[in-house]
Assembly symmetry: C2
Homo-oligomer: 201 residues x 2
């Protein structure tokens, strides 16, 4: 009897191994050999699923985005509108190993997206999903009277997403920003500042 | 009599040619051959000064940072504190060919800085200089009574720099953000929002 293989599951399993390596040792540590060791699959199997090293990193990017999407669902179920908005931003900050790996693969592909049309389209899609999720959280907070009704959700979302992503990238590149991030938990103050009525213009 | 050569000037001239190519056609268009054509120097001369393609891009990064530093001096001479602060942020937005090239080379090296210690140190240095320049502009605006005295300049500067850089990177990756940037000129509203007294915490 032929063995049944869940290809999606195997792809996810390998992508998770890539993300563990990225969290522990960074992008340069991702080699076909290292992923074979981490995942327990042969280099032949890895090549079959992902082609080459770059294919594995792309698989890791998509897997990281998928896991973030699952977290978004959990966050969206929160009743407190401000906590939901905070969650939608904190999800993208490199505050634990999972999100550190997420940030590192995204910065890696940002550089590629700046020069490659199809990668740009993919990254645009992720950013649009994130902005929409944040805008919905702003609306939820407005319905609860926690954010001024004059604030335009799309404008506040674009600003909050740019600030969060900029801070996240700076934290990956600059030890002092990472230290501030771990010490200060600045997201609530960003929300207060960028969701004030001046954002209605 | 031996010909006198100003090596710094020649390096700048070649780096400027690289930046023109980056502005016009992006990072992938930078090849030793293309730079030779653009600059009028032989590939032998280019290799002598910059080694290889990556060396030319690094030269372009440093040249772009140097030109930004010159613009900072002009901006710092402005009497209106808010105009000075606005200038310190707008300098990093990809609103013309020069700043488009600046943004593209920075995103390219951000990815490298996320994985390479010496590049990270160099990028940290640029970010620190930018934050300090913005913090000084906040102080100048405070002395003129244009920004609340309770605002902490370093905190406001870190937030404004993260928001500006995040927006700039998103504009390079996402056509809708670039369109908003050209249409809305959002920097004054960022300053109003992120330099409010809540930034004193």
């Amino acid at each position: 009897m032929p063995k049944l293989v869940d290809h999606d599951e195997r792809r996810s399993e390998i992508a998770d191994a890539v993300l563990r390596i990225v969290a522990r040792a960074g992008i340069p540590a991702v080699t076909v050999r290292a992923v074979a060791e981490e995942s327990g699959w042969s280099t032949g199997v890895l090549t079959h699923y992902f082609g080459n090293r770059r294919g594995m990193l792309l698989g890791a990017l998509r897997r990281a985005a998928e896991i973030s999407g699952q977290h978004h669902k959990t966050i969206a179920a929160q009743n407190d509108g401000l906590a939901r908005l905070e969650g939608a931003l904190v999800e993208a900050l490199p505050l634990d190993e999972r999100r550190l790996a997420l940030g590192r693969v995204f910065v890696f592909f940002y550089a590629e997206a700046a020069t490659d049309e199809s990668m740009r389209t993919e990254i645009e899609g992720y950013l649009a999903v994130w902005r929409k999720f944040v805008a919905n959280a702003v609306r939820a907070a407005q319905r609860q009277g926690l954010i001024d009704a004059r604030v335009k959700p799309a404008v506040a979302a674009a600003q909050l997403v740019a600030l969060t992503d900029g801070w996240s990238i700076h934290a990956l590149l600059d030890g002092s920003v990472m230290a501030d991030l771990n010490r200060l938990s600045p997201v609530r103050s960003w929300i207060e500042l960028l969701s004030s009525p001046a954002t209605s213009t």
